[in-house]
């Protein structure tokens, strides 16, 4: 696969004292992380601990209620143009239009993200990576959920960007598609790319681990006496509402 082999001049993606409040609930606070170019960071933690929230915060969908996010030296603000040139985000939904074929979906995604059309043969290679080459011209509404998930993973090839944000990427993948994804990710890291993956599945690619739960433990101090409720009541309140 003649993946364009130029390497990224990517920088370190780091978060400092990040906190996020969603729907009035403090999801996590005081969270720090740093991912150097060529490194992979796994996000661990039980459901609702904020793995997906952290990914959406980095992607610029959520405002951080405290702390800041840096790419190299410049601080990323939500909705920055620079941010949208640098990362690809794959969430739980696959973002595919069921009325259109896989080819149409992929071409549209490539043009929306890069502004340039994608050559038919390169598209075929990318589809083959996940065994979807034969399905290119079939409307997505006939795809199984596994096929749809693999189709959504193609976005990492369609938009050649340094930072990958992956939310449970290996869900519903069979053995050879897992290896395909692993080689894809390893290749991306070798080119100096950065990956953050919210997943417990090691996928066979070396990476550091950040346990989002531990960052949570500071926020929800659990002890028995009534005082705990006050701490918790005050702590979970937006600082603005606290009664000191």
């Amino acid at each position: 696969m003649d993946q364009s082999a130029h390497s990224f001049d990517s920088q370190t993606l780091s978060g400092h004292g990040l906190a996020c409040r969603r729907g009035g609930r403090l999801v996590f606070s005081g969270l720090d992380f740093s991912v150097a170019p060529g490194r992979l960071l796994f996000l661990h933690g039980k459901n609702g601990s904020g793995k997906s929230t952290l990914l959406r915060l980095i992607a610029g969908f959520l405002p951080a209620s405290a702390g800041d996010l840096r790419y190299g030296t410049d601080v990323w603000d939500r909705g920055d143009a620079a941010l949208s040139e640098t990362l690809v985000y794959a969430g739980h939904d696959n973002g595919l239009k069921t009325a259109l074929t896989l080819r149409e979906n992929s071409e549209i995604y490539a043009r929306i993200m890069t502004g340039r059309p994608i050559a038919a043969d390169r598209l075929l290679d990318m589809a083959d990576v996940f065994g979807l080459g034969a399905l290119l011209d079939r409307p997505v509404r006939y795809f199984s959920s596994g096929q749809r998930h693999r189709a959504s993973l193609m976005r990492f090839l369609l938009a050649d960007r340094p930072v990958w944000l992956m939310d449970e990427p290996t869900v519903g993948l069979d053995a050879d598609n897992r290896t395909a994804l692993a080689t894809l990710m390893q290749h991306h890291l070798d080119r100096g790319g950065i990956i953050l993956a919210a997943s417990h599945d090691p996928i066979g690619v070396a990476g550091d681990v950040l346990n989002v739960d531990e960052c949570n433990s500071l926020a929800h101090a659990k002890d028995v006496a009534g005082g705990a409720f006050v701490a918790q009541y005050n702590n979970s309140l937006h600082p603005f509402w606290r009664e000191d």
Binding site: G226, G227, F229, V230, Y233
Partner: protein, 54 residues
């Protein structure tokens, strides 16, 4: 007095206008006070009692 109440024949309209205004404004004020008190009591109930000794 009767002549005043008559409002030169427009009694119905004038008193209806003043009456509706009074009813609406007083009603809104009372509702705001009652709901306010209710909300305040529920916040008090939720916030832990500061025991005298504690």
């Amino acid at each position: 007095m009767a002549e005043f109440l008559d409002m030169g024949g427009y009694a119905v309209f004038v008193w209806a206008a003043y009456g509706l205004c009074a009813a609406a404004l007083v009603g809104l004020a009372l509702h705001s006070l009652k709901a306010g008190k209710q909300a305040r009591d529920r916040v008090e109930a939720l916030r832990p009692r500061r025991r005298k000794g504690a």
